[in-house]
């Protein structure tokens, strides 16, 4: 009975969603919008809680629970198994959308009535689209009656990991969060006569979404790094690209909104970015959920889902871009930008961000395009991205290191140079020092990355001088973080050591100045798996540096084998060991990586997210104050 009630909740939420939408068309129904929004959010939350309850109570009569859970599964993973499959992830998507909507409803109230009406209607329409998708093609409460299984099929072992508990919620908070700037942009375009600075209202939400997306992507990369056992942290996989494209556009958006919230100069551009950020999130959802770009792991995706998401995507795209085209028709005169000014540099950065997004989009869709046109299966991988994406981003990094020093509106190259002199001198010093030690050991691209990373870090830190506002702090944090991440990426790609060896217990191998000994092998038993655990001792000049315990786990319910890597994390380097397979003579294939500076990558990500978060809170507070005044 309870799962049926869950389904009923979702249907009720759909009805409320339709009411919210109707308020956008009919003024007399507008009074219902606010209460209906609350109703919609409440019933979506209830539906979500009921699915969680289904997992916690091992209700295997529900097909989705039976496919993704197991009585032996630890509590934590039962909870996150809720989003371990397609139906649950979609429900999480809708649930998070309703959380954002609730947030906007509660916080941003002092807006003109017409704007409010359109805003609710747009958000309601997005809810309706996704609830229809959920109910039409992917009902999470589908029952397996009368023959319910005694035991569930267990959660995919890859996903049984603390990283997976946090990764999807943060990613979705980011993805879905871009629905809010999108809705503000739509509301502003639907009511051209209202003088409404949508950018001011949308900015904190765009920053928040960007911050969460950064955390989500960093967590995903970290998870892939230690869970997949390939030692990589980014694979340019379509699923990763799907989250990376909204991030790039989101970065452009938060910068453009900063300008648009002060003056109307590139309002049209900000509107376009706000539309693109959310639509790329939808395109990502489509690519991942429809199986159009089938990754090796999923063949059994339902075409009906893809068709439905594409219909929805088409409605959103044609609706929003159509409105944008109309908006362009009546836009005001474009004012001239002076080249050396903060605005023009932000615009330049934006253009680079958008070009970079276009290259990622092209690379992601390339297999699809080739297949449609020539029926050939070709895919592009990291060689394409390192050849195209990396060079595009480099000028952006350079721009980032000096653009914060420019003034708004008018500046002169000479004055800018005098402001830059001190940080530039320090940078030159450090770079000469680095160059002296590392000139020959680093390939050119990495060296360029290191130089740019140093430039950004130093120039951001120099901004700490003088008066500090929270807003400025946010900027410094985020830029500093990106610089650290760039340093991490450049250094780890250039300096990592990777070795695959065949080792017997008791033997040892030398990898880049370190002796790695395979000391022991034990049997271990976990809650839902049995494991073989190796013990490796790493020593340098006969001094032990680290002990590592990689495992090979056999999950009994799914009969799958998983490699549990062992990592000794360090600020300057990681040791990383993965057990491969056992050979017949008792030796094991062992993969050993030494990864210098790889931590900096995620450390940088944390700083970027933190910076955006601080800026978001400041912007929210500013909006709040404006309402009081």
């Amino acid at each position: 009975m309870i799962p049926e009630f869950g389904l009923f909740c979702l249907i009720l939420a759909l009805c409320f969603g339709l009411m919210v939408m109707a308020g956008g068309f009919n003024r007399s129904l507008a009074i219902l919008q606010r209460p209906a929004t609350f109703g919609m959010c409440a019933f979506i939350a209830l539906g979500f809680i009921i699915l969680v309850f289904g997992f916690l109570s091992d209700d295997f009569s529900v097909s989705y629970v039976a496919q993704n859970s197991n009585t032996q599964l630890p509590f934590m993973y039962k909870l996150c198994a809720v989003w371990g499959g397609h139906e649950g992830s979609l429900l999480l998507w809708v649930f998070i959308l309703s959380l954002w909507t609730l947030g906007v409803t509660l916080i941003s109230r002092a807006m003109p009535e017409n704007i409010m009406r359109s805003l609710y209607a747009v958000l309601g329409a997005i809810h309706v689209g996704f609830l229809l998708l959920l109910l039409h093609t992917s009902n999470p409460f589908l029952r397996l009656l009368p023959s319910m299984p005694k035991e569930g099929a267990d959660l995919n072992p890859l996903l049984q990991d603390p990283g997976f508990v946090m990764h999807p919620p943060f990613l979705y908070l980011g993805y879905v969060g871009f629905a809010i700037p999108f809705a503000f942009a739509m509301a502003a375009m639907l009511n051209p006569k209202e003088s409404f600075s949508w950018a001011k209202w949308a900015r904190p939400y765009a920053l928040l979404a960007f911050s969460f997306l950064t955390v989500g992507i960093s967590l995903g990369s970290w998870w892939a790094y230690y869970e997949l056992g390939w030692g990589g942290w980014w694979f340019w996989d379509p699923v990763e690209n799907a989250s990376f494209m909204p991030w790039l556009v989101g970065a452009a958006l938060v910068h453009a909104l900063r300008v648009s919230s002060l003056k109307p100069i590139f309002n049209s551009w900000s509107l376009l970015l706000a539309l693109c950020a959310f639509i790329l999130s939808l395109v990502g959802t489509f690519l991942v959920r429809s199986g159009v770009l089938a990754s090796v792991h999923a063949f059994a995706s339902d075409p009906a889902r893809g068709v439905f998401i594409l219909y929805f995507l088409a409605v959103v795209m044609i609706g929003s871009f159509g409105l944008y085209i109309v908006h362009l028709q009546r836009r005001a005169a474009v004012s001239r930008l002076q080249f050396v000014s903060k605005e023009s540099f932000i615009l330049l950065g934006n253009i680079i961000f958008v070009s970079a997004t276009a290259t990622v989009l092209l690379g992601t869709l390339y297999p699809l395009i080739m297949e449609v046109l020539t029926n050939e299966k070709i895919s592009v991988g990291s060689p394409y991205y390192s050849a195209v994406f990396v060079p595009i981003m480099m000028p952006l990094l350079l721009l980032m290191s000096f653009a914060p020093y420019t003034f708004w509106e008018q500046d002169s190259p000479k004055a800018l140079f005098s402001r830059l002199l001190k940080p530039l001198l320090l940078c030159t010093g450090i770079i000469i020092l680095v160059g002296y030690f590392a000139w020959l050991s680093l390939p050119a691209v990495s060296l360029a990355g290191v130089v740019l990373g140093i430039l950004i870090v130093i120039s951001s830190l120099f901004k700490l001088r003088g008066s500090l506002s929270f807003n400025k702090m946010g900027m410094i944090f985020a830029h500093f973080g990106l610089g650290v991440a760039v340093l991490g990426i450049s250094l780890t790609t250039a300096l990592e050591t990777e070795k695959e060896v065949q080792l017997a217990v008791g033997s040892s191998v030398k990898v880049a100045n370190y002796d790695i000994a395979f000391a022991d092998l034990n049997e271990q038993e976990g809650p839902n798996y049995i494991a073989k655990q190796g013990h490796f001792v790493i020593s340098h000049n006969n001094q032990p540096v680290a002990n590592l315990y990689p495992e090979k786990r056999f999950f009994t319910a799914r009969e799958t084998m998983m490699t549990e890597t062992a990592i000794d994390p360090g600020f300057l380097r990681d040791f990383y060991i993965a057990l491969g397979e056992r050979f017949h003579d008792g030796t094991w294939s062992v993969r050993i990586y030494i990864k210098p500076f790889v931590r900096w990558l995620w450390l940088g990500g944390i700083f970027v997210a933190l910076g955006a978060f601080i800026a978001a809170l400041t912007a929210l507070q500013a909006n709040y104050k404006r309402r009081e005044a």
Partner: protein
């Protein structure tokens, strides 16, 4: 850009560009949705020779097999993996096929590990004359694999004569594969 009057031409260009980009993107996504829907026989690789490879057998790591070993009589090559649910469900079908027909079926384990693979074959039965270990996915890469399971029919010269994506049923094998294999055997 003139401050006083909006640039009409520029506007039209912008509007046109956006409309075209949106249309092109949607068109490709729509087409992409259907290009792969008929998961059965894809003709692009028909008639081409099977890529060259050198792979070890799963049960005997010292014995290497190359594409030349597949020549002389028609072969069925089935690419699968123990981590792939569809393949695991399909395996009994192949056990049935092996019982009913005598055509050699060569298994290729794609990006798989030896232990779970052997456990799987022990539990569900081993319909293959031997299973090759494509642990690094090299053969899969040469074949342009998008997923598993995939099945190929090779003639006596080692050319691909049929290519099927996704799981197979016994009825489908009898209707599509068996007649082709019979003609190929006669040719050889």
């Amino acid at each position: 850009m003139n401050i006083n009057k909006p640039n009409k031409m520029g506007n039209y260009l912008w509007q046109g560009t956006i409309a075209i980009l949106v249309a092109v993107l949607l068109w490709f996504l729509w087409q992409g949705l259907f290009v792969k829907q008929p998961m059965t026989v894809v003709d692009s690789q028909q008639g081409q020779s099977f890529p060259s490879f050198t792979l070890a057998k799963v049960n005997d790591t010292k014995q290497m097999v190359t594409q030349k070993d597949l020549q002389g009589k028609p072969h069925v090559v089935h690419i699968f993996a123990s981590w792939c649910g569809v393949c695991v469900d399909e395996l009994p079908t192949w056990v049935g096929i092996a019982k009913k027909f005598s055509y050699p079926v060569v298994g290729v384990a794609y990006r798989d590990e030896v232990e779970p693979l052997q456990a799987l074959l022990q539990k569900k039965g081993d319909p293959f004359v031997y299973v090759l270990n494509d642990e690094e996915g090299k053969l899969g890469l040469d074949l342009g694999l998008m997923g598993v399971p995939v099945t190929y029919v090779l003639d006596a010269k080692g050319n691909i004569r049929m290519h099927q994506l996704g799981a197979l049923s016994l009825a489908q094998f009898e209707a599509e594969f068996a007649p082709l294999l019979a003609t190929l055997s006669k040719e050889a």
